[in-house]
Amino acid sequence: MSLAVTPRATPGCTDLPVLRERGQREVFCGLTGIVWLHRKIQDAFFLIVGSRTCAHLMQSAAGVMIFAEPRFATAIIEERDLAGLADANAELDRVVERLLARRPDIRLLFLVGSCPSEVIKLDLKRAAARLDTRFAPRVRVLNYSGSGIETTFTQGEDACLAALVPELPEAEDRSPRLLVVGVLPDVVEDQMLRLFAAMGLDRVAVLPPRRSTALPAVGPGTLVLLAQPWLGETARALEARGCRHLPAPFPLGAEGTTGWLRAAADAFDVSPSRFREATALGIARAEKAVAAHRPVLEGKSVFLFPDSQIEVPLARFLARECGMRPLEIGTPYLHRGLLEKELPLLPDGAVLSEGQHVDRQLDRLRAARPDITVCGLGLANPLEAEGFTTKWSIELVFTPIQGYDQAADLAGLFARPLDRARRLRV
């Protein structure tokens, strides 16, 4: 459990100190990404090969069981499966068979690795290949790991999308095409596609697609624009297919959205006037709507616990568009490569922390006494009880917050707890 403050030396970045910590990490594992991935890819099923804990996590993390029979489930490893891996494979085949018989609508099945499946070295890659052959062409079977020992929360999405990359068809030509990568809520995705169309970009595809049968083609002409900051592995896999990553800020707030769109516009030589035309209305609406929340947020200090890796772009939005003061910006991983357009925009005076030692971080929080704390649901009520106003971070990955027309919704997520704290007299 080391603790080290080292100044950052990366050229082009600000000189914010980075606190690196190890200790108890109060974060979800990568399996949790299934909660939004299965809503996005509408003909996919996610079968976790894991323990009762994994099943219990999915049930609890999903919060409420909205779907009577969701498109995810757990093949729970039992004592006899541990005795022999050959039998475990046979058992897995039996479970998959039962599942696919029950769900003829499924076209893509992910076998999702977990901590126990990784530790007992159950080879899900081979299992997926075996089952893929067996159920072809009706169902494709792929695998990735969402285990807590290998992935933190949103890294599960990264692992899932990276597993899809080898499946993408090869583009027939090398002329430029745009690939937007990362799960965005449908409403946001549609808005973004309309904006690209308004700029005159007509070869735009998204990964993951809503139907697994409509995988986008990629190749050396493909320019990749990441919609989320946690997609390092996916970006690397796409680069290996010849795609080029477009460095950009992330589409939070008017500034982030404009920067994100501009990265694509510049790559496709969209004229400045056309870009202005396409974005002016959105910018105006976003700025006007965010301004309505600004009186509540201006000058308020904010402390962010590590959760999804959205913390750096989020802190940038809260500081630059809402006038808030980030005190500590915690992130599970600081991916400098993907954040190169974000880090320089962070205000001075904030501490960046990477990793977590939750008890020490709580000590720092109590010393800093921020006006609002961004944290997970395990910490939120205890902190409220201590008198801290909180914003639970899980909403930042489950709700539409990207793009011009959601900028005020994002600001509103922070204004509401402050507003409540102001109203309550009990």
Binding site: Q24, V49, S51, R52, T53, S60, S147, L377, G378, A380
Partner: protein, 529 residues
């Protein structure tokens, strides 16, 4: 491997957390991979707990596996002790840590802590949450009460006549279904009987309180799933008898009062004569006539399922058409109870199987867990939650026990409110052709959202839809004439499916291929009770 969509119980280490979080001055150190901290939010969100559960996790990752995860555990243990200064530390492993076999027990022994350490064996691949809770409670009781046990074979001396009888209340935990209020209710009941409460455990108990368990004359076991193992050990070690009746409902509470009175050597009659439950009168009042014979399906942990089935059958006059549990350890008790109601017991933790059984039984009310609430919603059957696993709604702000005489009042409301109120049902039958009293008129107290959106706009159309849905099930079913279909539409919607089934069965048994209005009424007369 078991295919699970939803689970009724978490892993055993979550059971251990429920004990640690219920107690005072106890800390649990769990060897567990990153991600297992999700379990904290069960306590902070569902129960709205205002403090973090007293649990430290090692949250190891892949990079630690190549190194020294044992050291990670040892460091976390020492650090947790320094930071939280508990009176006792429980150590255990979650499913993944169990596989890497770091031996938390041995590591704790060599860590040189002065605080007592209770090691837990929590076999994740064989056992579940309630077992983990029972085992943890038993280990804690053994560790702290054990040293005070008399030598084996010692006969328990009779209670001195100048001291009032004393009992422990065993079983309530964190995240339990209404445990907080049940304890308050049972405390009150015991006080009225003149019985002092020695210790309530694990809820609110410290290790020092556990050490005093032997000072009670007997034990009140509210939740056998949690406290059964510990109570058996206390009976063997201290000669303490334990109650066997769980006071859910008026009848069971009366039995409980008599049982406690006998164990305590006091007279139960003053309490029984002053019984203050409203349930008996409410069930006898005319409005409740309409509750008679309502078909109810009951599923939950064993204690609540058995208790609520008895209330439903004996205290509301319902017909129990299904009874089941996910608690395999208590399958025998549920089988015995099911035999009393003449139904097949359902013992399963497969959510899909429960759904299939509910659909098959076509009950008018489901009493179940959060899972059954979803099943009932999908099948448009009224439902009330009577058992864990729980949801934030199952921790109401108001006082809401399910045990004791007040608990019986709560159960009356709980079972009756999702149903059509008696008078409302009566009016609906009278005016069923009235345009404002059509099939879609949901119980008025449930608000606009309760309307049956999928139903057709008129009873006749609904009957057509009903028959059409049936046709996909069996192609050789008899044919309904248009007049008979229209007449079926006049049958109140809540019994229409049953009328259809009975008529078709009647026709099939007699080889009738075409169902007319006359067939419909012949069948009605045939099946009339």
């Amino acid at each position: 491997m078991q295919l699970a969509v939803w689970t009724y119980e978490g892993p055993p280490h979550v059971g251990a957390m429920r004990i640690a979080a219920a107690m005072r001055d106890v800390h649990l150190v769990l060897h567990a991979p990153q991600g297992d901290t999700y379990a904290d939010l069960l306590f902070t969100m569902i129960e709205r707990r205002a403090t973090r559960p007293p649990v430290t996790y090692t949250t190891f990752q892949a990079r630690d596996l190549g190194g020294d995860t044992a050291k990670l555990f040892r460091d976390a243990l020492i650090e947790a002790n320094d930071r939280f200064r508990p009176a006792a530390i429980l150590v255990g492993a979650s499913c993944t840590a169990e596989l890497i076999q770091d031996d938390p027990q041995g590591l704790a022994r060599t860590a040189g802590l002065e605080v007592p350490v209770v090691p837990l064996e929590l076999p994740s691949y064989a056992k579940k949450e309630n077992w983990g809770a029972a085992e943890t409670f038993y280990r804690v009781v053994r560790a702290f009460a054990g040293p005070h046990a008399p030598p084996p074979g010692t006969v328990r001396p009779p209670r001195p006549s100048d001291r009032p009888p004393r009992a422990n209340i065993l079983g309530p935990t964190a995240l339990g279904f209404r445990h907080r209020d049940d304890v308050a209710e049972i405390r009150r009941l015991l006080a009225r009987l003149g019985v002092e409460v020695n210790v309530v455990a694990p809820l609110g108990a410290s290790p020092a309180d556990i050490a005093r368990l032997g000072e009670a004359d007997f034990n009140v076991v509210l939740y056998p799933e949690i406290a059964g193992t510990a109570a058996s050990w206390l009976a063997r070690s201290f000669g303490q008898k334990a109650t066997r009746t769980v006071p859910i409902g008026v009848g069971a509470t009366r039995d409980f009062v008599r049982e406690v009175a006998e164990l305590a050597g006091v007279d139960p009659s003053p309490v029984l004569e002053e019984e203050d439950s409203r349930l008996p009168w409410y069930s006898r009042s005319v409005d409740s006539t309409y509750l008679t014979g309502k078909r109810v399906f009951v599923f939950g942990d064993a204690t609540h399922a058995i208790g609520c089935a008895r209330v439903a059958a004996e205290e509301l006059g319902f017909t129990v058409v299904g009874l089941g549990t996910y608690a395999r350890e208590f399958a025998r008790d549920v089988r015995e109870a099911a035999a009393r109601y003449g139904v097949d017991p359902l013992v399963t933790d497969d959510y899909l199987e429960v759904e299939a059984k509910i659909a098959e039984a076509a009950p008018e009310l489901v009493l179940g867990t959060q899972m059954e609430r979803h099943i009932a919603k999908k099948h448009r059957i009224p439902c009330a939650v009577i058992s864990a696993p729980v949801h934030v709604q199952d921790f109401p702000a108001r006082y809401s026990p399910v045990m004791g005489f007040e608990g019986a009042n709560v159960l009356f409301d709980t079972f009756v409110h999702p149903l059509m109120m008696g008078l409302e049902e009566h009016l609906l039958a009278m005016f069923r052709e009235d345009f404002e009293f059509h099939d879609e008129a949901a119980p008025s107290h449930l608000g606009a959202t309760a309307t049956v959106a999928a139903a057709a706009s008129s009873p006749a159309a609904a009957a057509v839809a009903l028959l059409r849905s049936r046709r996909s099930e069996a192609s050789d079913a008899p044919v309904w004439t248009p007049e008979a279909t229209k007449e079926l539409g006049k049958v109140p919607f809540f019994v229409r499916a049953k009328a259809r089934r009975n008529t078709e069965r009647y026709a099939a048994e007699r080889g009738i291929r075409t169902i007319t209005v006359e067939t419909l009424y012949d069948a009605k007369a045939h099946f009339a009770r």
